[in-house]
């Protein structure tokens, strides 16, 4: 018997331990699966032994294999055996294995309850510790319910090591068994004032986590946290508390005002923490973040923001960009974007550049362009952004151009002139034909020129630019837009010529179209082909009519009458079900079992009428169009910032004598794109904007002075509006005309968000003050 034992232990010496296993796997790279299945067999043998050390070793190896992706749930019972070892070393191995592979579906998990309870009350703090750590990974609702009391008791253990762990694991317990929150909460609150800083920060951690989901229940704790914030020096705690206040202040506005002072102090006083530079920045950032959420009009905070913005942009992280996004106001938007554009220029590598681009557009377009005071500036920014090579956000710029051009009527003239320029220089942009590349802006340019063609100065030239052969190298969807819009443009030119009585010019235009459109008919893209073929036939027909001297422009224009307005994203959902329509009723008799399979199922449509309400408004007649044109011309004459287009340099070049015989060749260079002929750099808008605002203010002051003189006596406080001019005082140069999007008639006003009924955080929404 003794010999057997000795032999047994010698055998066991040659059992593989974890290191051997790892080494073995590394040495069997080619037949790893085979080797591992061999090892698993060995492990199964080892697990049959009585010796707990052997079992522990086996489980340790299994944990490693589980990490590699192998399922070890078949060994669950053995793992529990090892967990119940008396020696800490083995116990630890057992709990580790359990934490990696036990989950709510593990059948035998209930068997662990008593063992865990025993370990939790063990005199050895490391036994308790290891049990808590393990439990935190596999706690189930049942386990939580059974062990909640034991863990709550541990929150008051003599050793801070245990208290810390117990406090943190309570959060998990709360999630799985929400009924435990109410009884445990008083003790949790106590821990906020625990003498040990580690325990304190654990309590802060848990409460912040809870408050994040249900902030209103924890509002009453605000004074306590206030005290902590002003007295704590632990960075982690500070960060959590600041985040907590960020969540609480929207609910309690007075809180915001109280927080200004301590937060400002905090920011200024953080110079002590030497090497932990990251933390300094994190707390500063969070402090300012909270401040910005709290007060948008406090002048002091705007001041400190400016400095930080400059600091941030040097640091290439998304934090700084997010931060900038929040600091924007009407006053500083142009400045901020200017600085960002500098960074865009400097940035090498397209990822960061792209992110900047997205952020610039985000900033500018948020809240329906709330912060933009001069849309001409914005359009010129967008055009500058088209210079970016290799961007993947061409569609974003394009959609912005479209959006602004549609919604801001006053800007259409300017937008159209810029777009015409882009079309003219399309050969420079078209060389980059990747998906979502910068060529997408041509989509927008073509559409804008087509839709608002009445603003074009040189419609003939633009039409000619759209018909160039190079256009056929663009992606299909862009060509399709080109084709559609060149017809719109053609129609408007036709109308112009007919009205002016220039019959020959009208015929010339038609002839040009007939000659150039066939290149699109041959396109490989289906949509382009279809559109081009239809249009070709239409134009040939028009040509025939023109030969017979029939005035045709009116009818052609009528094809494109009506405005296209933006449609609300929920419009489809909101189409109301008309009276008397029951969508659930059978239309026919319910089918019998012997129904043949050839019968097509009847689909139930909404009433056709509903769809029409979302279509274009009834056609506007010719008079209306002419009148609008007149009004527009008046507006332009009165607008001091309207730029009369200067002749483009290209034209000048061609006009100079002796130069016509030199053929103009387009060169495909991969150098940064310079779109020639832009009338004004966006920087100059900043200056102009300042002048405009100054003028505005002077006029206002004059009015105030007048009012003062008219009143008799009495003291009036002079509002020195130089420094505290708020955003509301600034009137934008152009207004967004179309803000509300189209919706079907009788649409219901509100809708419900889909709420997830299984959200565990909802269950924790308990009012703790009762």
């Amino acid at each position: 018997m003794a010999l057997k034992m000795v032999k047994g232990s010698i055998d066991r010496m040659f059992d593989k331990n974890l290191q051997d296993l790892v080494r073995g796997i590394r040495n069997h790279k080619e037949d790893e699966a085979k080797y591992i299945s061999q090892c698993i067999d060995e492990i199964k043998q080892e697990l049959k032994q009585d010796n707990i050390a052997v079992k522990a070793n086996a489980v340790c190896k299994l944990t490693y294999l589980q990490m590699l992706g192998y399922d070890i749930s078949w060994a669950a019972f053995n793992i529990i055996e090892v967990m119940s070892a008396s020696k800490f070393t083995f116990k630890r191995i057992g709990y580790l294995a359990a934490s990696q592979c036990f989950h709510e579906g593990t059948d035998v998990i209930m068997l662990t309850t008593n063992q865990i309870r025993k370990d939790l009350s063990s005199p050895n703090q490391y036994d308790t510790g290891v049990a808590l750590t393990g439990l935190s990974c596999f706690v189930t609702p049942d386990l939580a319910r059974d062990l909640a009391n034991d863990i709550m008791t541990l929150m008051s253990h003599t050793k801070p090591y245990i208290r810390k762990k117990a406090v943190l694991i309570m959060y998990k317990v709360f999630l799985k068994y929400p009924e435990s929150l109410r009884p445990a909460f008083p003790r949790l609150k106590e821990k906020l004032e625990d003498p040990d800083p580690g325990v304190q920060s654990a309590a802060v951690n848990v409460i912040c986590e809870l408050a994040r989901r249900n902030p209103k229940n924890y509002l009453s704790l605000a004074p306590l946290f206030f005290k902590l914030m002003t007295s704590s020096t632990n960075n982690w705690v500070l960060i959590k508390i600041i985040k907590l206040f960020g969540a609480l202040t929207p609910l309690e506005p007075r809180l915001g005002k109280k927080l200004i002072e301590p937060l400002t102090n905090l920011i200024h006083s953080i110079s002590v923490f030497g090497e932990k530079m990251y933390f300094v920045f994190a707390v500063k950032y969070l402090g300012l973040l909270a401040m910005s959420k709290i007060l948008k009009t406090h002048p002091k905070s705007v001041q400190s923001h400016k400095d930080l913005i400059l600091q941030c942009c040097g640091l290439r992280t998304s934090i700084s960009l997010c931060f900038v996004l929040r600091q924007v106001s009407k006053k500083n938007l142009m400045e901020i974007v200017k600085k960002l554009m500098i960074h865009v220029d400097k940035a090498e590598g397209t990822t960061y550049r792209d992110e900047l681009l997205t952020k610039i557009i985000d900033i500018c377009s948020q809240s329906n362009y709330q912060y933009i005071t001069n849309f001409e500036w914005y359009i010129s920014i967008l055009v500058e952004l088209t210079r970016l090579e290799g961007t993947r956000h061409g569609h974003l710029i394009a959609s912005q151009m479209l959006d602004v051009a549609i919604r801001v009527k006053a800007i259409r003239m300017f937008a159209v002139s810029q777009m015409a320029m882009l079309l003219d220089n399309a050969h420079l942009i078209a060389s980059n034909t990747q998906r979502n590349g910068i060529c997408e802006v041509l989509y927008a340019a073509a559409w804008i020129c087509g839709e608002f063609s009445e603003h074009l100065d040189e419609p003939n030239q633009t039409l000619e630019a759209m018909l160039r052969p190079k256009v056929t190298t663009l992606p299909g969807h862009i060509q399709a837009v080109y084709v559609q819009n060149m017809v719109k443009l053609y129609a408007s030119i036709l109308q112009q010529k007919e009205q002016a009585g220039e019959k020959e010019a009208a015929k010339e235009i038609t002839q040009m179209m007939v000659e150039r459109i066939p290149q699109f008919v041959q396109s490989a893209d289906l949509e382009v082909q279809e559109r081009a073929s239809c249009i070709l036939q239409l134009i040939k027909y028009i040509q025939k009519l023109q030969i017979k001297e029939v005035p045709v422009a009116e009818e052609v224009i009528a094809l494109f009458a009506g405005e296209l307005n933006p449609v609300a994203p929920k419009a489809q959902k909101k189409v109301p079900v008309p009276e008397g329509l029951d969508l659930d009723a059978w239309i026919n008799e319910p089918p019998s079992d012997s129904e043949s399979e050839d019968e097509k199922p009847r689909t139930i449509f909404h009433d056709e009428e509903q769809r029409h309400s979302r279509h274009r408004q009834p056609e506007i007649d010719e008079e209306e169009l002419a009148r609008r044109r007149e009004v527009r011309k008046q507006e332009q004459a009165n607008n001091p910032f309207y730029i009369k287009s200067s002749p483009s340099p290209q034209k000048r070049y061609q006009d100079s004598p002796g130069v016509e015989h030199i053929p103009v060749v387009q060169i495909d260079l991969s150098v940064p794109l310079k779109v020639p002929g832009m009338p004004m750099g966006s920087d100059q808008y900043v200056k102009l904007e300042e002048e405009r605002r100054h003028k505005q203010k002077l006029e206002k002051d004059k009015k105030k002075k007048k009012q003062k003189k008219e009143k008799k006596g009495g003291k009036h406080r002079r509002h020195n509006s130089l420094h505290t001019e708020s955003d509301e005082d600034i009137a934008p140069a152009q207004h967004v005309d179309i803000i509300t999007e189209e919706m079907p008639e009788n649409a219901l006003p509100s809708d419900e968000d889909d709420k997830d009924p299984n959200d565990p955080y909802k269950a924790l929404d308990i009012d703790l003050d009762k």
């Binding site: 010496m13 331990n17 800490f88 935190s136 810390k164 943190l168 998990k172 933390f279 994190a282």
Partner: protein
């Protein structure tokens, strides 16, 4: 790759997550920031991957929005320093062969997905205490196992099969291999 699972997720999904993580992180530029927003695979955009690169290692933490990114970067730093202290100039092989020890260190820093301790000295103190406990439990019975382990870990040079000194020729028998 070492991983510590906190959430419930099936085996395959965990492996999938690891693959995606590895893919994302290894593709990332040096100069780009260390935070990646999680896609659907990593539990939605509320979650982020925060990582730091040390020589051949990537340490990746997946956190949700309640954690401060810079704070986590600091945590990773503390973690690496702790590893260095516990393994004495940690190197890649240490982490590969002593995965369980690494898990134990993590257990002293994070519990149930929440940060437990960020002070390196405190963490090392606890680890040392537990190591002592382990050693005292193993006692004398552990000696043979350790001896065998030690031999296995030694890098024995290749023993020549034939030793020829003058006219004496010694044949060396094949020793059992530990591989």
């Amino acid at each position: 790759p070492l991983k510590k699972r906190i959430l419930d997720a099936s085996e395959e999904r965990q492996q999938q997550i690891i693959r995606v993580t590895f893919h994302l992180v290894s593709k990332h530029d040096e100069n780009v920031c260390n935070f990646l927003e999680g896609g659907l695979l990593i539990g939605g955009s509320d979650n982020k991957l925060i990582y730091r690169h040390y020589a051949t290692f990537y340490f990746v933490f997946c956190v949700d929005s309640s954690e401060s990114e810079l704070g986590i970067l600091d945590l990773i730093q503390v973690f690496v320093e702790t590893l260095d202290k516990c393994f004495e100039n940690v190197c890649e092989l240490d982490l590969i062969f002593h995965v369980d020890k690494v898990h134990n260190i993590v257990a002293e820093m994070v519990i149930g997905g929440m940060v437990l301790e960020t002070n390196m000295n405190e963490i090392v103190t606890q680890i040392d205490a537990q190591n002592k406990l382990e050693k005292s439990e193993a006692g004398l019975a552990g000696a043979p196992v350790w001896a065998v382990s030690a031999v296995k870990n030694m890098n024995l040079p290749e023993i020549p099969r034939n030793i020829n000194i003058g006219d004496i020729s010694i044949k060396v028998r094949n020793l059992p291999s530990f591989k």
